[in-house]
Homo-oligomer: 192 residues x 2
DNA sequence: CGACGAGGTTAATGATCGTTAACCTTTCTC
DNA sequence: GAGAAAGGTTAACGATCATTAACCTCGTCG
Protein backbone atom coordinates (compact mmCIF):
# COMPACT_ATOMS: atom_id res chain seq x y z
CA UNK A 1 0.00 0.00 0.00
CA UNK A 2 1.29 3.42 -0.91
CA UNK A 3 2.06 5.48 2.14
CA UNK A 4 0.95 9.06 1.50
CA UNK A 5 3.19 10.50 4.21
CA UNK A 6 6.38 10.47 2.17
CA UNK A 7 4.68 12.22 -0.73
CA UNK A 8 3.44 14.98 1.52
CA UNK A 9 6.79 15.25 3.24
CA UNK A 10 8.47 15.60 -0.12
CA UNK A 11 6.02 18.26 -1.24
CA UNK A 12 6.39 20.25 1.98
CA UNK A 13 10.18 19.97 1.99
CA UNK A 14 10.34 20.89 -1.67
CA UNK A 15 8.27 24.01 -1.01
CA UNK A 16 10.74 25.15 1.63
CA UNK A 17 13.82 24.36 -0.44
CA UNK A 18 12.48 25.76 -3.70
CA UNK A 19 11.45 28.93 -1.89
CA UNK A 20 14.88 29.33 -0.36
CA UNK A 21 17.08 28.50 -3.34
CA UNK A 22 14.86 28.34 -6.42
CA UNK A 23 13.74 25.30 -8.41
CA UNK A 24 17.01 25.09 -10.34
CA UNK A 25 19.00 25.72 -7.18
CA UNK A 26 17.81 22.52 -5.52
CA UNK A 27 19.07 19.21 -6.83
CA UNK A 28 17.16 15.97 -6.57
CA UNK A 29 19.87 14.82 -4.23
CA UNK A 30 19.40 17.87 -2.00
CA UNK A 31 15.67 17.33 -1.86
CA UNK A 32 16.04 13.68 -1.05
CA UNK A 33 18.60 14.34 1.66
CA UNK A 34 16.31 16.90 3.29
CA UNK A 35 13.64 14.18 3.46
CA UNK A 36 15.97 11.63 5.03
CA UNK A 37 16.19 9.52 1.90
CA UNK A 38 18.66 9.95 -0.85
CA UNK A 39 18.48 11.07 -4.43
CA UNK A 40 16.78 8.64 -6.75
CA UNK A 41 14.34 7.40 -4.10
CA UNK A 42 12.17 10.35 -5.07
CA UNK A 43 11.30 8.57 -8.27
CA UNK A 44 9.35 6.01 -6.27
CA UNK A 45 6.90 8.82 -5.48
CA UNK A 46 7.07 11.24 -8.39
CA UNK A 47 7.85 10.62 -12.05
CA UNK A 48 10.21 13.60 -12.25
CA UNK A 49 11.47 16.65 -10.41
CA UNK A 50 9.19 18.85 -12.49
CA UNK A 51 6.23 16.75 -11.39
CA UNK A 52 6.89 17.73 -7.77
CA UNK A 53 6.74 21.39 -8.74
CA UNK A 54 3.67 20.82 -10.88
CA UNK A 55 1.68 19.10 -8.15
CA UNK A 56 2.64 21.86 -5.73
CA UNK A 57 1.60 24.75 -7.93
CA UNK A 58 -1.52 23.21 -9.43
CA UNK A 59 -2.91 22.29 -6.04
CA UNK A 60 -2.42 25.72 -4.52
CA UNK A 61 -3.90 27.41 -7.58
CA UNK A 62 -6.93 25.14 -7.30
CA UNK A 63 -7.28 25.88 -3.63
CA UNK A 64 -6.98 29.64 -4.00
CA UNK A 65 -9.70 29.59 -6.64
CA UNK A 66 -12.03 27.17 -4.87
CA UNK A 67 -12.01 28.94 -1.52
CA UNK A 68 -12.22 32.29 -3.28
CA UNK A 69 -15.35 31.20 -5.12
CA UNK A 70 -16.84 29.98 -1.87
CA UNK A 71 -16.10 33.27 -0.13
CA UNK A 72 -17.71 35.26 -2.94
CA UNK A 73 -20.77 33.01 -2.92
CA UNK A 74 -21.36 33.52 0.79
CA UNK A 75 -20.70 37.26 0.77
CA UNK A 76 -23.12 40.12 0.78
CA UNK A 77 -22.43 42.52 -2.07
CA UNK A 78 -19.28 43.39 -4.00
CA UNK A 79 -17.53 45.35 -1.28
CA UNK A 80 -18.09 42.57 1.20
CA UNK A 81 -16.91 40.00 -1.33
CA UNK A 82 -13.68 41.90 -1.89
CA UNK A 83 -13.10 42.17 1.84
CA UNK A 84 -13.56 38.41 2.14
CA UNK A 85 -11.24 37.78 -0.81
CA UNK A 86 -8.55 40.02 0.66
CA UNK A 87 -8.85 38.29 4.02
CA UNK A 88 -8.60 34.86 2.43
CA UNK A 89 -5.67 35.67 0.23
CA UNK A 90 -3.79 37.47 2.98
CA UNK A 91 -4.23 34.62 5.38
CA UNK A 92 -3.17 32.09 2.78
CA UNK A 93 -0.10 34.08 1.78
CA UNK A 94 1.06 34.45 5.37
CA UNK A 95 0.35 30.83 6.27
CA UNK A 96 2.04 29.42 3.18
CA UNK A 97 4.87 31.81 2.49
CA UNK A 98 7.10 29.31 0.71
CA UNK A 99 4.33 28.33 -1.69
CA UNK A 100 3.70 31.95 -2.60
CA UNK A 101 7.38 32.52 -3.26
CA UNK A 102 7.66 29.45 -5.45
CA UNK A 103 4.53 30.27 -7.39
CA UNK A 104 5.78 33.78 -8.06
CA UNK A 105 9.33 32.81 -8.95
CA UNK A 106 9.43 29.32 -10.43
CA UNK A 107 6.23 29.03 -12.36
CA UNK A 108 8.13 29.10 -15.65
CA UNK A 109 10.02 25.95 -14.73
CA UNK A 110 6.80 23.96 -15.02
CA UNK A 111 6.25 21.49 -17.84
CA UNK A 112 4.06 23.00 -20.48
CA UNK A 113 0.79 21.29 -19.67
CA UNK A 114 1.00 22.13 -15.98
CA UNK A 115 1.94 25.69 -16.86
CA UNK A 116 -1.19 26.02 -18.97
CA UNK A 117 -3.29 24.56 -16.19
CA UNK A 118 -1.89 26.96 -13.60
CA UNK A 119 -2.36 29.85 -15.99
CA UNK A 120 -6.01 28.94 -16.49
CA UNK A 121 -6.63 28.64 -12.78
CA UNK A 122 -4.90 31.94 -12.05
CA UNK A 123 -6.86 33.70 -14.77
CA UNK A 124 -10.09 32.38 -13.29
CA UNK A 125 -9.02 33.57 -9.85
CA UNK A 126 -8.16 37.02 -11.18
CA UNK A 127 -11.47 37.20 -13.02
CA UNK A 128 -13.28 36.29 -9.83
CA UNK A 129 -11.74 39.32 -8.13
CA UNK A 130 -12.08 41.55 -11.19
CA UNK A 131 -15.78 40.83 -11.51
CA UNK A 132 -16.44 42.00 -7.98
CA UNK A 133 -14.20 45.00 -8.46
CA UNK A 134 -16.03 46.07 -11.61
CA UNK A 135 -19.44 45.94 -9.97
CA UNK A 136 -18.02 48.17 -7.26
CA UNK A 137 -16.28 50.53 -9.70
CA UNK A 138 -18.08 50.35 -13.06
CA UNK A 139 -15.79 52.96 -14.60
CA UNK A 140 -12.97 50.37 -14.77
CA UNK A 141 -12.78 48.45 -18.02
CA UNK A 142 -11.88 44.81 -17.89
CA UNK A 143 -8.13 45.04 -18.66
CA UNK A 144 -7.73 47.77 -16.06
CA UNK A 145 -9.61 45.70 -13.50
CA UNK A 146 -7.39 42.70 -14.21
CA UNK A 147 -4.29 44.87 -13.86
CA UNK A 148 -5.58 46.31 -10.59
CA UNK A 149 -6.20 42.82 -9.22
CA UNK A 150 -2.76 41.65 -10.29
CA UNK A 151 -1.22 44.67 -8.61
CA UNK A 152 -3.10 43.80 -5.43
CA UNK A 153 -1.71 40.28 -5.61
CA UNK A 154 1.73 41.80 -5.95
CA UNK A 155 1.13 43.79 -2.80
CA UNK A 156 -0.19 40.83 -0.83
CA UNK A 157 2.41 38.39 -2.17
CA UNK A 158 5.34 40.68 -1.55
CA UNK A 159 5.71 40.27 2.15
CA UNK A 160 6.22 36.54 2.41
CA UNK A 161 9.64 37.39 0.97
CA UNK A 162 10.30 39.95 3.67
CA UNK A 163 8.31 40.89 6.77
CA UNK A 164 10.43 38.95 9.20
CA UNK A 165 10.66 41.82 11.69
CA UNK A 166 6.96 42.13 12.38
CA UNK A 167 4.59 39.56 13.91
CA UNK A 168 2.00 37.90 11.72
CA UNK A 169 -1.14 39.44 13.19
CA UNK A 170 -0.29 43.12 12.68
CA UNK A 171 1.29 42.30 9.33
CA UNK A 172 -1.93 40.67 8.20
CA UNK A 173 -3.97 43.68 9.24
CA UNK A 174 -1.54 46.06 7.58
CA UNK A 175 -1.53 44.18 4.29
CA UNK A 176 -5.28 43.71 4.22
CA UNK A 177 -6.01 47.36 4.87
CA UNK A 178 -3.45 48.47 2.28
CA UNK A 179 -4.97 46.12 -0.29
CA UNK A 180 -8.49 47.35 0.38
CA UNK A 181 -7.34 50.96 0.15
CA UNK A 182 -5.56 50.22 -3.12
CA UNK A 183 -8.73 48.67 -4.52
CA UNK A 184 -10.87 51.56 -3.28
CA UNK A 185 -13.03 49.33 -1.12
CA UNK A 186 -14.73 51.35 1.66
CA UNK A 187 -14.38 50.38 5.29
CA UNK A 188 -16.96 47.82 6.40
CA UNK A 189 -20.27 49.19 7.54
CA UNK A 190 -20.78 49.02 11.31
CA UNK A 191 -23.19 46.46 12.66
CA UNK A 192 -26.95 47.17 12.38
CA UNK B 1 40.88 50.45 -27.00
CA UNK B 2 38.00 48.75 -25.25
CA UNK B 3 34.73 49.30 -27.06
CA UNK B 4 31.99 49.86 -24.49
CA UNK B 5 29.20 48.98 -26.94
CA UNK B 6 29.54 45.23 -26.61
CA UNK B 7 29.37 45.43 -22.84
CA UNK B 8 26.17 47.41 -22.97
CA UNK B 9 24.72 45.13 -25.61
CA UNK B 10 25.49 42.14 -23.44
CA UNK B 11 23.91 43.76 -20.40
CA UNK B 12 20.76 44.73 -22.29
CA UNK B 13 20.44 41.35 -23.97
CA UNK B 14 21.04 39.57 -20.70
CA UNK B 15 18.28 41.59 -19.04
CA UNK B 16 15.80 40.46 -21.66
CA UNK B 17 16.87 36.84 -21.64
CA UNK B 18 17.14 36.54 -17.86
CA UNK B 19 13.71 38.13 -17.51
CA UNK B 20 12.19 35.71 -19.98
CA UNK B 21 13.80 32.45 -18.85
CA UNK B 22 15.54 33.11 -15.55
CA UNK B 23 19.24 33.36 -14.78
CA UNK B 24 19.72 29.61 -14.67
CA UNK B 25 17.58 29.16 -17.76
CA UNK B 26 19.98 31.11 -19.97
CA UNK B 27 23.30 29.54 -20.85
CA UNK B 28 26.41 31.51 -21.66
CA UNK B 29 26.10 30.14 -25.14
CA UNK B 30 22.51 31.41 -25.45
CA UNK B 31 23.51 34.84 -24.27
CA UNK B 32 26.44 35.02 -26.64
CA UNK B 33 24.36 33.88 -29.58
CA UNK B 34 21.74 36.54 -28.85
CA UNK B 35 24.55 39.11 -29.05
CA UNK B 36 25.85 37.82 -32.39
CA UNK B 37 28.97 36.31 -30.85
CA UNK B 38 29.32 32.88 -29.46
CA UNK B 39 29.75 31.46 -26.01
CA UNK B 40 33.15 32.05 -24.47
CA UNK B 41 33.60 35.45 -26.16
CA UNK B 42 31.65 36.88 -23.22
CA UNK B 43 34.69 36.32 -21.04
CA UNK B 44 36.49 39.05 -22.94
CA UNK B 45 34.01 41.51 -21.39
CA UNK B 46 32.96 39.98 -18.08
CA UNK B 47 34.86 37.71 -15.71
CA UNK B 48 31.89 35.39 -15.25
CA UNK B 49 28.21 34.92 -15.94
CA UNK B 50 27.41 35.97 -12.39
CA UNK B 51 29.33 39.19 -12.96
CA UNK B 52 26.90 40.14 -15.72
CA UNK B 53 24.00 39.69 -13.32
CA UNK B 54 25.84 41.54 -10.58
CA UNK B 55 26.61 44.59 -12.69
CA UNK B 56 22.99 44.67 -13.84
CA UNK B 57 21.43 44.52 -10.39
CA UNK B 58 23.90 46.73 -8.58
CA UNK B 59 23.58 49.50 -11.13
CA UNK B 60 19.79 49.57 -11.05
CA UNK B 61 19.74 49.50 -7.27
CA UNK B 62 22.14 52.44 -7.23
CA UNK B 63 20.04 54.33 -9.72
CA UNK B 64 16.77 53.74 -7.89
CA UNK B 65 18.31 55.03 -4.68
CA UNK B 66 20.13 58.00 -6.19
CA UNK B 67 17.16 59.36 -8.11
CA UNK B 68 14.90 58.64 -5.16
CA UNK B 69 17.11 60.70 -2.87
CA UNK B 70 17.11 63.50 -5.39
CA UNK B 71 13.33 63.46 -5.64
CA UNK B 72 12.94 63.59 -1.89
CA UNK B 73 15.44 66.44 -1.62
CA UNK B 74 13.55 68.57 -4.12
CA UNK B 75 10.09 67.80 -2.74
CA UNK B 76 7.90 69.88 -0.50
CA UNK B 77 6.80 67.87 2.53
CA UNK B 78 6.31 64.17 3.18
CA UNK B 79 3.14 63.70 1.12
CA UNK B 80 4.73 65.42 -1.84
CA UNK B 81 7.89 63.36 -1.41
CA UNK B 82 5.92 60.13 -1.49
CA UNK B 83 4.05 61.24 -4.58
CA UNK B 84 7.39 61.94 -6.28
CA UNK B 85 8.79 58.61 -5.15
CA UNK B 86 5.77 56.72 -6.45
CA UNK B 87 5.99 58.54 -9.77
CA UNK B 88 9.67 57.77 -10.10
CA UNK B 89 9.40 54.13 -9.18
CA UNK B 90 6.37 53.57 -11.38
CA UNK B 91 8.02 55.13 -14.37
CA UNK B 92 11.19 53.16 -13.81
CA UNK B 93 9.33 49.88 -13.43
CA UNK B 94 7.35 50.39 -16.62
CA UNK B 95 10.35 51.59 -18.61
CA UNK B 96 12.63 48.78 -17.45
CA UNK B 97 10.32 45.82 -17.03
CA UNK B 98 12.97 43.16 -17.63
CA UNK B 99 15.25 44.64 -14.98
CA UNK B 100 12.45 44.63 -12.43
CA UNK B 101 11.63 41.03 -13.19
CA UNK B 102 15.25 39.95 -12.87
CA UNK B 103 15.78 41.88 -9.66
CA UNK B 104 12.70 40.28 -8.12
CA UNK B 105 13.37 36.76 -9.30
CA UNK B 106 17.11 36.19 -9.66
CA UNK B 107 18.41 38.20 -6.78
CA UNK B 108 19.58 35.05 -5.01
CA UNK B 109 21.77 33.94 -7.90
CA UNK B 110 24.18 36.80 -7.18
CA UNK B 111 27.63 36.15 -5.76
CA UNK B 112 27.70 36.90 -2.07
CA UNK B 113 29.42 40.26 -2.14
CA UNK B 114 27.13 41.64 -4.82
CA UNK B 115 24.14 40.27 -2.95
CA UNK B 116 25.20 42.16 0.16
CA UNK B 117 25.72 45.31 -1.83
CA UNK B 118 22.29 45.07 -3.45
CA UNK B 119 20.73 44.35 -0.09
CA UNK B 120 22.33 47.43 1.42
CA UNK B 121 21.19 49.64 -1.44
CA UNK B 122 17.66 48.27 -1.30
CA UNK B 123 17.48 48.75 2.44
CA UNK B 124 18.57 52.35 2.03
CA UNK B 125 15.94 52.84 -0.65
CA UNK B 126 13.25 51.34 1.56
CA UNK B 127 14.34 53.50 4.47
CA UNK B 128 14.14 56.55 2.26
CA UNK B 129 10.49 55.79 1.59
CA UNK B 130 9.78 54.65 5.14
CA UNK B 131 11.14 57.87 6.62
CA UNK B 132 8.75 59.97 4.58
CA UNK B 133 5.90 57.60 5.34
CA UNK B 134 6.50 57.82 9.08
CA UNK B 135 6.47 61.60 9.11
CA UNK B 136 3.14 61.40 7.31
CA UNK B 137 1.75 58.67 9.61
CA UNK B 138 3.59 58.83 12.95
CA UNK B 139 1.50 55.99 14.38
CA UNK B 140 3.46 53.50 12.24
CA UNK B 141 6.48 51.98 13.92
CA UNK B 142 9.58 51.39 11.87
CA UNK B 143 9.10 47.70 11.04
CA UNK B 144 5.52 48.34 9.97
CA UNK B 145 6.62 51.24 7.80
CA UNK B 146 9.26 49.07 6.16
CA UNK B 147 6.69 46.35 5.53
CA UNK B 148 4.26 48.88 4.07
CA UNK B 149 6.92 50.18 1.71
CA UNK B 150 7.88 46.68 0.65
CA UNK B 151 4.23 45.89 -0.02
CA UNK B 152 4.02 49.00 -2.17
CA UNK B 153 7.04 47.84 -4.14
CA UNK B 154 5.28 44.52 -4.62
CA UNK B 155 2.30 46.37 -6.02
CA UNK B 156 4.35 48.53 -8.35
CA UNK B 157 6.69 45.73 -9.42
CA UNK B 158 3.92 43.25 -10.13
CA UNK B 159 2.72 44.55 -13.41
CA UNK B 160 5.88 44.34 -15.47
CA UNK B 161 5.18 40.62 -15.32
CA UNK B 162 1.64 41.08 -16.60
CA UNK B 163 -0.14 44.20 -17.86
CA UNK B 164 0.26 43.43 -21.53
CA UNK B 165 -3.37 44.19 -22.37
CA UNK B 166 -3.36 47.79 -21.26
CA UNK B 167 -1.30 50.71 -22.65
CA UNK B 168 1.49 52.16 -20.58
CA UNK B 169 -0.01 55.56 -19.79
CA UNK B 170 -3.24 54.41 -18.13
CA UNK B 171 -1.36 51.57 -16.45
CA UNK B 172 1.06 54.04 -14.94
CA UNK B 173 -1.75 56.19 -13.62
CA UNK B 174 -3.59 53.18 -12.25
CA UNK B 175 -0.55 51.82 -10.43
CA UNK B 176 0.49 55.18 -9.05
CA UNK B 177 -2.96 55.95 -7.68
CA UNK B 178 -3.28 52.48 -6.17
CA UNK B 179 0.11 52.83 -4.51
CA UNK B 180 -0.73 56.23 -3.06
CA UNK B 181 -4.05 54.94 -1.78
CA UNK B 182 -2.32 51.94 -0.20
CA UNK B 183 0.14 54.25 1.53
CA UNK B 184 -2.64 56.58 2.70
CA UNK B 185 -1.18 59.57 0.87
CA UNK B 186 -3.87 62.20 0.25
CA UNK B 187 -4.54 63.54 -3.23
CA UNK B 188 -2.28 66.45 -4.16
CA UNK B 189 -3.44 69.86 -3.06
CA UNK B 190 -4.70 72.06 -5.92
CA UNK B 191 -2.51 74.91 -7.11
CA UNK B 192 -2.39 78.10 -5.00
C1' DC C 1 57.93 46.77 -40.46
C1' DG C 2 57.11 44.49 -36.34
C1' DA C 3 54.87 43.62 -32.27
C1' DC C 4 51.13 43.82 -29.43
C1' DG C 5 46.65 43.90 -27.58
C1' DA C 6 41.65 43.65 -28.28
C1' DG C 7 38.21 40.65 -29.50
C1' DG C 8 36.98 36.75 -31.82
C1' DT C 9 37.03 31.46 -32.86
C1' DT C 10 36.71 26.21 -31.76
C1' DA C 11 38.06 22.36 -28.77
C1' DA C 12 38.63 20.54 -24.33
C1' DT C 13 37.82 20.12 -19.23
C1' DG C 14 35.60 19.18 -15.06
C1' DA C 15 31.64 19.45 -12.44
C1' DT C 16 26.83 18.84 -11.71
C1' DC C 17 22.46 17.18 -12.58
C1' DG C 18 18.29 14.46 -13.79
C1' DT C 19 17.30 10.05 -14.69
C1' DT C 20 17.76 4.95 -15.18
C1' DA C 21 19.51 0.28 -13.89
C1' DA C 22 20.27 -3.28 -10.90
C1' DC C 23 19.76 -4.90 -6.65
C1' DC C 24 18.34 -5.42 -1.74
C1' DT C 25 15.07 -5.57 2.26
C1' DT C 26 10.67 -5.62 4.62
C1' DT C 27 5.82 -6.40 4.71
C1' DC C 28 1.53 -7.94 3.45
C1' DT C 29 -1.19 -11.52 1.17
C1' DC C 30 -3.00 -15.99 -0.64
C1' DG D 1 5.80 -20.06 3.44
C1' DA D 2 6.10 -18.40 -1.34
C1' DG D 3 6.09 -14.38 -3.60
C1' DA D 4 4.92 -10.03 -5.13
C1' DA D 5 5.13 -5.26 -4.29
C1' DA D 6 6.53 -1.00 -1.93
C1' DG D 7 10.28 1.69 -0.91
C1' DG D 8 14.91 1.93 -0.25
C1' DT D 9 20.08 1.61 -1.76
C1' DT D 10 24.43 2.54 -4.78
C1' DA D 11 26.48 2.78 -9.39
C1' DA D 12 26.35 4.32 -13.94
C1' DC D 13 24.88 7.17 -18.05
C1' DG D 14 24.27 11.06 -20.87
C1' DA D 15 23.51 15.75 -21.22
C1' DT D 16 24.43 20.36 -20.15
C1' DC D 17 26.99 24.02 -18.44
C1' DA D 18 30.51 27.44 -16.94
C1' DT D 19 34.96 28.07 -17.62
C1' DT D 20 39.69 27.61 -19.64
C1' DA D 21 43.15 26.72 -23.34
C1' DA D 22 45.03 27.43 -27.58
C1' DC D 23 44.88 29.77 -31.52
C1' DC D 24 43.66 33.28 -35.12
C1' DT D 25 43.04 38.08 -37.12
C1' DC D 26 43.01 42.27 -37.25
C1' DG D 27 43.93 47.67 -36.42
C1' DT D 28 47.25 50.65 -34.02
C1' DC D 29 51.41 52.53 -32.74
C1' DG D 30 56.51 52.92 -32.00
Amino acid sequence: MTEPRRREQILATAADLFAARGFHGVSVSDLGAACGISGPALYKHFPSKQAVLAEMLVSISERLLAVGQERVATSDGAADALRDLVDWHTEFALTHRPLIIVQDRDWESLPEDARDQVRRLQRAYISLWAGQLRTLQPDLDQPAAHAAVQATFGLLNSTPRAGQDIPDAPLRDLLASMALAALGVPAPAPLG
